[in-house]
C-alpha cells in the first residue's frame, strides 16, 4: 500500500515536471528573437524615410527577399513590371527601385547582411551600392 502510494506520487511529479518543461520550452522559444536582440547591439542604419517604402520597416526586413523574388518572377516571366503599393503608388519592379531610393546609404544591404552573416549572390551580377559610381 505504501509502495503503491509512492509510485503514484512519483508519477504525479513526473507529469508535473513534463508539463513545466514544455511550458518553459515554449516560452523560451517564442521570446528567442527578443532576447537575442537584447544581447547584441543592432547594426546602425542610416536615417532613411522609411514611410516612402512599399511596406513597413518590419515587413521589409522580414520579407524583402520574397518581394524581390516575386518581382523578378512577375516582371521577367509575365512582363508585369508595375508594382502598386498599398497606398496606390505605382513603382517599377526592379532591384534598382530599392537601391535608388536608398542611394544615400552606401552600406545599404551590407549593414544587415554582415550583421546576420547572410551572403546573397545578388552582387555577382548586379551593381551593389558599394560599387555604384
Amino acid at each position: 500500500m505504501k509502495r503503491r502510494r509512492a509510485t503514484l506520487t512519483k508519477k504525479l511529479i513526473m507529469t508535473a515536471a513534463a508539463v513545466l518543461i514544455l511550458v518553459l520550452a515554449g516560452v523560451y522559444a517564442f521570446r528567442h528573437e527578443e532576447s537575442q536582440a537584447e544581447k547584441i547591439a543592432a547594426p546602425a542604419a542610416a536615417a532613411v524615410d522609411s514611410s516612402a517604402c512599399i511596406g513597413s520597416k518590419e515587413y521589409m526586413r522580414a520579407n524583402h527577399m520574397r518581394v524581390l523574388n516575386e518581382w523578378r518572377h512577375s516582371s521577367v516571366r509575365d512582363g508585369n513590371r508595375v508594382h502598386v503599393a498599398p497606398d496606390g503608388r505605382k513603382i517599377e519592379k526592379s532591384l534598382n527601385t530599392c537601391l535608388n531610393c536608398h542611394s544615400g546609404n552606401r552600406m545599404f544591404c551590407f549593414n544587415c547582411h554582415m550583421y546576420a552573416n547572410v551572403k546573397p549572390n545578388c552582387w555577382n551580377c548586379h551593381i551593389s551600392p558599394m560599387e555604384a559610381p
Binding site: A18, A25, N63
Partner: protein
C-alpha cells in the same frame, strides 16, 4: 531493468514534445503579412506583339562594327581576346557561316564576300527553350527568347540545341573581361550562358535596340511582325528576304535582305 526502460521512454517522450514545442516557436507560421502582393496591373497580352528584325546586308559596310560595340558595351559583354572564352551577343561572320544551307547557288562574289551580322534569331519555335531543364530560358509573351540568369545552372544544353551558335558560356568571371562597364545593365557571373535579349530592357523604356540605334547606315530595322502596318512588315512584303537555316522549322524572327 524494466523500470529503467520505462523511465527512458518517458524521458524520451518528454524530450520529443519539448522539441516540437520549440521548433514551432522557431518557425512561426502566418505571423507576418502575406508575401504575394495583390493588385498587379498592366499585364501584357501574350502573343499580341512579336518583335523581329530585318537586316539589309546591302547597306551594311564591311569595316564597321558599331552595332557590335554598342551592344556589347550596353550589356557588359566581356572580351577576353581569345576564341575559347569568347562571349558574343551580336557578331559579324562570313556568308558561308551565316547561311551554310542557303539554296541559292552561284551567288556573286559581292554577296559571298560581304560580312553578315548574326545574332539570336528569337525563333518562334526555339529549340533552346525546349532543351533547358530549369526553364531559365523561355519564349516571352512578345516573342523574345529571354533568359533568367538566376535560374541558369550552366548545363549548356541550350548551346547544343541552338543551331545558330547564338549562345555563349561564361567560362571565366565576366567582370574581368569588361574594360568599360555600363551601369545600365547587370553583368553575368561565371558559369551561366548568355545571349542577345533583343534589348528587352530598352524596349520597356520605348527605345529601339542598341544595335539598331548605333548602325550609321540604318541597315537594321526593328519592329512588330504581328502589326501589318509596321515598317518591317512592309519591307518583308516588298522585298525578297532570307532567314538562317529555315529548313529546321525554327521560324526565326530575324530576316536578311541579301
Amino acid at each position: 531493468m524494466n523500470e529503467d526502460r520505462r523511465s527512458f521512454i518517458k524521458k524520451a517522450g518528454i524530450g520529443i514534445l519539448a522539441g516540437i514545442g520549440s521548433a514551432a516557436g522557431l518557425f512561426p507560421a502566418l505571423s507576418l503579412e502575406k508575401t504575394v502582393l495583390p493588385a498587379w496591373d498592366e499585364k501584357p497580352e501574350p502573343g499580341k506583339h512579336r518583335w523581329g528584325m530585318l537586316i539589309d546586308t546591302r547597306k551594311c559596310s564591311g569595316n564597321c562594327s558599331e552595332c557590335v560595340a554598342a551592344c556589347h558595351f550596353t550589356h557588359n559583354v566581356p572580351d577576353f581576346g581569345n576564341r575559347k572564352d569568347e562571349v558574343k551577343w551580336i557578331w559579324k561572320s562570313s556568308y558561308e557561316n551565316v547561311f551554310p544551307t542557303a539554296s541559292q547557288q552561284f551567288q556573286s562574289p559581292g554577296v559571298t564576300e560581304r560580312p553578315y551580322v548574326a545574332l539570336c534569331n528569337h525563333c518562334a519555335e526555339p529549340p533552346c527553350t525546349k532543351a533547358c531543364p530549369t526553364e531559365a530560358t523561355f519564349r516571352r509573351w512578345d516573342g523574345i527568347v529571354s533568359m533568367d540568369y538566376h535560374r541558369c545552372i550552366g548545363c549548356r544544353f541550350c548551346m547544343a540545341a541552338c543551331p545558330y551558335g547564338s549562345r555563349s558560356f561564361n567560362w571565366r568571371d565576366p567582370r574581368e573581361g569588361i574594360k568599360l562597364a555600363s551601369t545600365e545593365y547587370p553583368t553575368r557571373m561565371q558559369g551561366v550562358v548568355e545571349k542577345c535579349n533583343f534589348c528587352s530592357e530598352r524596349l520597356v523604356k520605348g527605345l529601339d535596340p542598341a544595335c539598331v540605334e548605333a548602325c550609321p547606315e540604318q541597315a537594321l530595322v526593328f519592329g512588330d511582325l504581328n502589326d501589318p502596318g509596321s515598317e518591317i512588315r512592309k519591307l518583308l512584303e516588298s522585298t525578297e528576304t532570307m532567314q538562317r537555316k529555315p529548313e529546321l522549322g525554327t521560324k526565326p524572327s530575324v530576316f536578311y535582305i541579301i
